[in-house]
Amino acid sequence: MLNTAIIGLGWWGKTHVNAIHGKSDKVKIRRVVDMAPDKVRDFVSERNLELSTRFEDALADPGVDAVVLVTPHSQHTDQIVAAAAAGKHAFSEKPFALNAGEARRAVAAAKKAGIRLGLGHNQRFNPTVVEMKRMVDSGEIGTVMHFEGNLSHDELIDVTSWRYDPVEAPGNGLWHMGSHFLDLYAWILGPVKEVYAQAVDRVLERDSAQALLQFECGATGYIGNSTYTARSRTLTLYGSNGWAKMLSPTELEVCMRGGGASEIRTFEPVDIVRANMENFADAIAGRTEYRFTTDQMIHDIEALDAIAKSLREHRPVQVGE
């Protein structure tokens, strides 16, 4: 059993609690930390969780094995470094770090301390995404030509929050929801080589942002995000043998060249937040590999850095230039 402390009980921190608390035989929430305790006292007392206001409280608790950082992006690295120094494993929400230098600093601290790092790109546990990866790895889809996806919602438009800070998220929604697709593309296709991005202000600042990508493997990709529209999720993988399109988290439409009509492959629903956390717990216990490598965690941020640079300079940017 992995004993965790959830750090940050905003909208998404509560989602973590609700995915794990009383539902997992691998992960236990031992305590929660929030710097504005009055706002979350009811939520915490209903679940009989221990609440405190300082991150250090979790680090000093010998009953805590891992901290789960649901904090602003800019705080992740310092918190990972502090957790490493305290011998705690650290699971970070996405994006992993504010820039690639910070990402490397976090990974170096974790390696030195011998702790494990987790990352909240839970779309890798979406069963339709897992099937897309299987289709690529097995050769079923053929040579991958293009990946296109748009993950948008407006659940945060009424929230005045750090999420809209241009330092925390230079490309707004591309950092929030868009980074999930960036991560899963790179998981399936390998490293990103070049990016071109644009963002415009419509109702809110940078509320419509997109990036075109080129991967080292020769495939291309597109990520779109709007932070001011109804929830929409589209994701299509195009290979030389056919395409696969996510219709919902449990339905993948597949159409192969010469195969006639498309077919719909269906999957059992998965709580992807819990699946990710349990994979993290299993990896710490030595029962399995974790689905993310630290090199991938760093690469995701290198690609976001390139997107930020493209947004500033209005030109295509090589990753790592």
């Binding site: 948008s152 109804a230 299509t236 395409w243």
Partner: protein, 330 residues
């Protein structure tokens, strides 16, 4: 009723003739093809007077209009010649691949006072028309973004001018992507800047994708793959919600979501509206008849010459961007 000559009787030219059969607006009476022996049977069956000379039909006082189903690079010279002969012209898409050529075409048509048509039949598809209605009615609120992808594998194994690098410098973006460029601009106005990339897998430039900045401030994404099974995606996103058409050329279902704020993980309050189907030939017929009625002054045409010329500028900018690797102003 206008009397028209079909110019170019490849498979698509024949579709124009089939689509207009028994129309009370347009009747094809003559045909031009540079390889007449190949199409003589078709012309006999359809009652078309066949020639291998474009000039013959331009000189024919019994012809009111020509419909050009010829290689893209020939469109503008043929429009200029038809204008000079006082014939109305409907040309297949793309109108042209060069901004200056597009402008030359519409200038000639305007000077001659003839009506110009364009073969973007997709505007007449049920789902595409319905989303246009929603755009005009303001149902999306402030539109942010539009995405379009119309892919198919029909060009695999096909030789001929459509494969030529000059006729299709950006592969599928020129072929079916051209329809999407027209629709994107129909919904969102002129494009200001494009960034295009093409890659080659099974055929040259068989995978193209473009980011667009419109003059209106809307953003766009356009893609076309030439070596994948048929797939269509068209989505408009606005501050009030979004609408999406999927399926294929006869797409008649519009999926939409206008639930503001929190919606459930499965996608929220999504609704799908099913419209009366308008198949591909019916779209071609609708376009040809709208054009014919416009020639006779009976109804406005759905396209303006400026829109046609703008698509030429867009194609040129995308090709320049794909070649240079840099964003290009339209």
């Amino acid at each position: 009723m206008i009397r028209a000559a079909i110019v170019g009787l490849g498979w698509w030219g024949q579709n124009h003739v089939r689509a207009a059969r028994d129309s009370s607006k347009i009747r094809f009476t003559r045909a031009v093809d540079i390889a007449p022996d190949r199409v003589r049977g078709f012309c006999d069956e359809q009652g078309l007077d066949l020639t291998d000379s474009f000039d013959d039909v331009l000189a024919d006082p019994d012809i009111d209009a020509v419909v050009l189903v010829t290689p893209h690079s020939q469109h503008i010279d043929q429009i200029v010649a038809a204008s000079a002969a006082g014939k109305h012209v409907l040309t297949e898409k793309p109108f042209s691949l060069h901004k200056a050529e597009g402008l030359r075409g519409i200038a000639a048509a305007k000077a001659a006072g003839i009506t110009l048509g364009i073969g973007h039949n997709y505007r007449y598809a049920a789902a595409v028309s319905e989303i246009k209605r929603m755009v005009d009615a303001g149902e999306f609120g402030e539109i942010h973004h539009i995405e379009a992808n119309l892919s198919h594998q029909g060009q695999i194994g096909v030789e001929g001018w459509r494969r030529n690098a000059e006729e299709a410098p950006t592969g599928g973006i020129v072929h079916f992507g051209a329809h999407m460029i027209d629709i994107m601009c129909w919904y969102c106005g002129p494009m200001k800047r494009v960034f295009g990339q093409t890659t080659s897998h099974i055929m040259p430039a068989d995978c193209g994708s473009v980011l667009v900045a419109f003059e209106s401030g809307v953003t766009g994404y356009l893609a076309d793959l030439m070596t994948t099974p048929s797939n269509f995606h068209l989505q408009v996103m606005g501050s009030k919600g979004w609408a999406r058409a999927q399926g294929w050329l006869d797409s008649y279902e519009v999926t939409k979501c206008f639930s503001a704020g929190k919606v459930d993980e499965s996608g929220g309050d999504i609704e799908t509206v099913t419209l009366p189907k308008v198949d591909m030939l019916a779209q071609v017929r609708a376009n040809d008849e709208n054009f014919a009625a416009a020639c006779m002054g009976e109804e406005p045409y759905l396209f303006t010459p400026e829109q046609m010329a703008h698509t030429a500028a867009v194609h040129e900018a995308i090709a320049k961007s794909a070649a240079s690797g840099q964003p290009v102003e339209v």
